[in-house]
């Protein structure tokens, strides 16, 4: 919402008091803001793609403010005209974060107050009091600001038709971040229901730049089965100033592997010192903890550096955010080390530098993070990329080039998940009895479900009703029943209540609170101690008393478990014994992978790389070969008593893990005696007891057979059948679909067993009902997520007949990083880091001898 140059609006577009308000602030209406006002006047749905700082939110709300300011809209009557004229909500605003909804509501108060507009704005989140929520249903505000979960809850209520019957506009903020998740699926279904309640409804999407804006525009528009895809209008604001991105120069020695960037800590501190407030982004919580600890260990100037990640206590996070808002001032901060918890959210004016430690993973993701620095459109955001190892140097370089080229690699919108659909179907029955034909038409008007066939929909309804089992024994316990008129209705009020308690698509891992206690007197205090935050229960299950680990920036010693809490004490020393899980959630994007691959193949592009990285690649060219575009290079070499194979596939860790699982099965069958494998974002390493190089030379077809696409057929099925991996995915699906209830806080204390463990349910379901709808949902979910099947399939198709075997007599320079990751899971603290360094030196000496 800052000044800009644009010609004055035509007088009829902006009412006088708006024009005066703009003029009073010294602002002009920007082109994209004008376009949105026009779309509003014409009642059109619209997608606004705009960079941070472009006045996106104001643009989204302007049409509603103008409409509500006009006297004629003040007396809107209920459609049914019953009793006293009541107004429903005029504009619904949906944000992925409740903090953002609250913040935007506050920002909206300024123009409303300054122009003296008769408009009420309220928020509704999980924190809103029951009293206020009740009141909002009876006397709703003109503009309601909320989250996707609250929309689902409101739509299931009896008041939904009156509340939303006169809804004119729904605004989705940060739409790009919502649509690729199950949350987006549920929201799409809710949009379809809103349209049914208010047929003329206008949907407005606010989004950062994405790879395929047409997809987002279609998400906003109602679809019809069998007809061409419909899209909302699109408005694109001009990009802001290009960001100024630097890669930390490689004067210090760049490690071969690892994600810590310890070598760069002094340079990171210097960069923080030169900025007002910096955000130091990392990829995982464990990385955040370690980088934070390293920064403080070297923080001789006493810079004010804080930590922010999803496991820390909420109050602690709020304190950090408040300090961020205070900027670099006396109560502010110089830097905060953060994970994706700060990717989205409210604007902090004083952040003028983003430091990205570790792999950027994707161009769009990096651009989004960089946009967190400086919210002024006309000034470049400043960013510093800090690669933690040599492959990450290549990845940072590729990301920098991609950003300069404006390339985007946001993931495509997937087909809507069936577990989400099941939750929605029951929610709609909770709202009011429904006819299957009507609900099917409504559901398929949502883009993610536009291709849902009727048979699958009916199976989902059947699942919701009686569990959808071939054994029809649960008819008498049905959650919804078909009545004489053919409509489906909820069997009893308990069903509705349970649904409300379990709404939403975000499934937390079972968590334990982390409580700090003092056990120095040799006994554990019965009460007291500060809550530091919470961590996954499974983490503590592997610990024994005395084990030390990092949390909240300090080394803690595990004392005991009590109820649903993990008791910990402060530990001496700074080296935790238990390493943390390193794997980030996001694999390297296809786009960045292609750029890294192209860079490796083209010596001419090496000019910008640090000398030690260039030397590394030169050594690779000399001792082995550089992987070329379009091929899959596979090195084989003996080492110790094992025989190694490295496949440079560049398809991201998840796809490589799946490839590793399937490939080792096939190698086993081919008599190659595989012993294990390791995957990172760039390649897959497999080791075996048989001389792989010799076997591939002896049987020229063997490699092609091993990498044949048919591995995604029976081998995949066979592996999935025995894999424990799917149990985790099934748990999420079962909770979202309402098969089992969420574990609510406090239930553990009662000691009562409230649900059957989902892995037991999975085993029974898989062996007795392999075609069950939730088995299908689980497989589809895993294929798109944990297993990354699509990417693997694309790669296998691409490299058919383009396998390049490079037999070597010893490890190659390019193979050193992946070889160092073997057994890396168990590498704690700095002593081991030093050992690792030695191991690395030994390996590289061996490679270049």
């Amino acid at each position: 919402m800052t000044e800009t140059i644009a010609d004055s609006p035509p007088p009829d577009l902006l009412p006088a008091r708006f024009a005066a308000w703009f003029a009073g602030r010294g602002w002009c209406l920007r082109d994209h803001q004008r376009a949105l006002v026009e779309a509003g006047a014409a009642g059109r749905s619209v997608l606004l793609v705009a960079p941070t700082g472009a006045g996106k939110t104001l643009a989204g709300f302007l049409p509603s403010l103008i409409a509500l300011a006009e006297p004629k809209s003040a007396g809107r009557l209920q459609a049914d005209g019953r009793g006293l004229a009541r107004r429903g909500v005029h504009t619904l605003y949906v944000s992925p974060l409740k903090a953002l909804a609250v913040d935007v509501a506050r920002n909206l108060e300024t123009p409303i107050a300054e122009m003296g507009l008769p408009i009420t704005v309220e928020t509704r989140t999980g924190d809103t009091s029951a009293h206020k929520r009740r009141r909002q249903k009876i006397a709703p505000p003109d503009i309601l600001m909320t989250t996707p979960e609250q929309v689902a809850l409101l739509l299931s209520s009896r008041e939904a038709p009156t509340l939303f019957g006169s809804l004119e506009t729904v605004i989705f903020d940060e739409l790009h971040s919502l649509v690729t998740s199950k949350r987006g699926d549920l929201l799409a279904l809710d949009l379809a229901r809103l349209r049914r309640l208010a047929p003329g409804l206008r949907a407005v999407g606010l989004s950062a730049t994405v790879a395929d804006p047409g997809e987002l525009a279609a998400w906003l528009a109602p679809q019809t089965v069998g007809e061409p895809r419909r899209e909302a209008a699109r408005v694109t604001a001009p990009p802001g100033a290009s960001p100024q991105i630097d890669i930390l120069p490689g004067e210090a020695r760049i490690p071969w592997a690892g994600h810590l960037a310890r070598h760069a800590i002094p340079a990171v501190l210097a960069a923080i010192e030169g900025a007002k407030t910096a955000i130091v982004f990392v990829n995982t919580r464990a990385q955040a903890e370690l980088v934070f600890q390293d920064l403080w260990a070297a923080n001789e100037k006493g810079l004010r550096i804080a930590l922010h990640h999803g496991s820390l206590d909420v109050a602690q996070r709020r304190r950090v955010e408040a300090a961020m808002a205070a900027g670099g001032g006396p109560h502010g901060l110089d830097a905060v080390v953060a994970t994706s918890t700060l990717d989205l959210g409210i604007d902090w004016g004083d952040v003028d530098l983003v430091i990205h430690v570790g792999a950027p993973k994707g161009a769009s993701r990096l651009a989004q993070r960089i946009g967190r620095a400086n919210h002024r459109l006309d000034e470049p955001s400043r960013a510093l990329l800090v690669p933690a190892n040599r492959f990450e140097v290549l990845e940072c370089r590729a990301a920098l080039e991609a950003t300069a080229a404006g390339a985007q690699d946001t993931p495509p919108i997937r087909a809507g998940a069936l577990d989400v659909l099941a939750q929605h179907v029951l929610g709609m029955a909770v709202a009011a009895p429904f006819f299957a034909d009507d609900l099917y038409a409504e559901v398929t008007s949502a883009l993610p479900y536009a291709r849902l066939d009727r048979a699958t929909f009916d199976r989902v309804v059947d699942y919701v009703a009686t569990g959808g089992y071939a054994l029809r024994v649960y008819e008498r316990y049905a959650k919804i029943r078909r009545t004489k008129d053919g409509s489906w209705r909820v069997s009893n009020p308990q069903v509705a209540q349970t649904w409300r308690l379990n709404v939403g698509t975000i499934v937390e891992m079972p968590m334990l609170k982390v409580r700090l206690v003092d056990d120095r007197k040799g006994r554990i205090p019965r009460y007291g101690g500060r809550i530091l935050g919470e961590m996954e229960e499974y983490f503590f299950e592997t610990l024994t008393a005395g084990d030390t680990f990092l949390f909240g920036g300090e080394v803690l010693r595990f004392v005991a478990l009590r109820e649903n809490e993990a008791l910990v004490a402060r530990a001496r020393g700074r080296d935790p014994r238990i390493p943390s899980y390193w794997g980030g959630k996001f694999p390297l994007s296809t786009h960045l992978a292609a750029r890294v691959r192209a860079m490796l193949a083209d010596r001419g592009s090496w000019g910008g790389l640090p000398e030690q990285v260039r030397d590394w690649l030169e050594l690779q060219a000399e001792h082995s070969r550089l992987p070329q575009a379009g091929e899959l290079m596979i090195e084989t070499f003996p080492r110790g008593e094992r025989f190694h194979m490295i496949a440079y596939a560049f398809e991201g860790r998840l796809a490589h893990q799946t490839l590793g699982m399937l490939l080792t099965r096939r190698m086993e069958r081919a008599g190659l005696r595989p012993l294990g494998f390791v995957a990172n974002d760039y390649c897959l390493g497999v080791w075996a007891a048989t001389d792989l190089g010799a076997a591939f030379r002896r049987r020229p077809d063997l490699l092609a057979d091993l990498f044949d696409e048919d591995m995604l057929g029976d081998d995949l099925e066979a592996w999935l059948d025995e894999s424990a991996l799917l149990k985790r995915t099934f748990r999420n699906c079962a909770i979202i679909a309402g098969l089992v209830e969420r574990r609510h806080p406090g239930q553990e204390k009662s000691g009562r067993q409230t649900t059957i463990a989902t892995d037991l349910v999975w085993d029974v379901l898989r062996s007795h009902e392999p075609d069950h709808i939730l088995i299908r949902a689980t497989r589809e979910d895993a294929a798109a997520g944990l297993l990354d099947i699509r990417r693997l399939a694309d790669m296998l198709a691409r490299i058919r007949d383009r396998l390049r075997h490079v037999p070597l007599d010893r490890i190659s320079p390019l193979a050193v990083p992946i070889m160092l990751e073997i057994g890396r899971e168990a590498v704690p603290g700095s002593a081991e880091e030093a050992l690792l360094g030695e191991a690395a030196e030994a390996l590289i000496a061996e490679a270049t001898r």
């Binding site: 308990q494 098969l739 059957i756 349910v761």
Partner: protein, 244 residues
Amino acid sequence: MTRSAPAIVVAGERLEALPSGAAWWPAEHTLIVADLHFEKGSSYARRGALVPPHDTLATLAALEADVAATAAARIVSLGDAFHDAEGPQRMEATARARLAALQAGRDWLWIDGNHDAGVAVDIGGRRAAETAIGPLTFRHEPKPRPEREILGEIAGHLHPAARVRVAAGSVRRHCFAGDGRRLILPAYGAFAGGLDVASRAFAGLFDRDALIVHLLGEGRVHAFPARAILGLSPDGTARRPTSR
């Protein structure tokens, strides 16, 4: 650390731990199972959680396999055979028939458990609150009295499970827990969960130095001493509350 399918000795009697979770007492041709929890699925369905109804059939199938493999002359069920007192009435006709077929020609003994003591219909076989065969006493809940006073108790009820550390992380499985004086069997039912032997419910039940757990594996069981169990405090007292 693991040994292959070992015998478990209780009060001098030799029993075999089967990977299904049943114990086989060759000297008496007796198969012992605990906590079958038949009709647990339908019990949940009745309260609105429509989990699969196949748990009874899955449990029966496992039992049929064990009976066929051992040719047992006697079956002892250590209680909680049904998840609730109305379980038998909800059991489908095919399942009832399969259960009856298993019972035919064998001595079938139901020990009452806290879940199924209220069963009021005929479910075949004999019923008892507890029973003794030779030096062994069969009951549902292990007696809480000091462990030295216990000799030869075979019990269920607690659904023992244990987590042990392995090369990459840790593994948790249902298990047999015994110290030579007492043996607690794992829950046999398809939907029966496990409770950590490190939890409070097991406090004081075993002589920690003699405690051995047999974790159920694929086609075999794996024995571990108490010191390999994650979360078991040095004095053998428990630290976790009930959470199955």
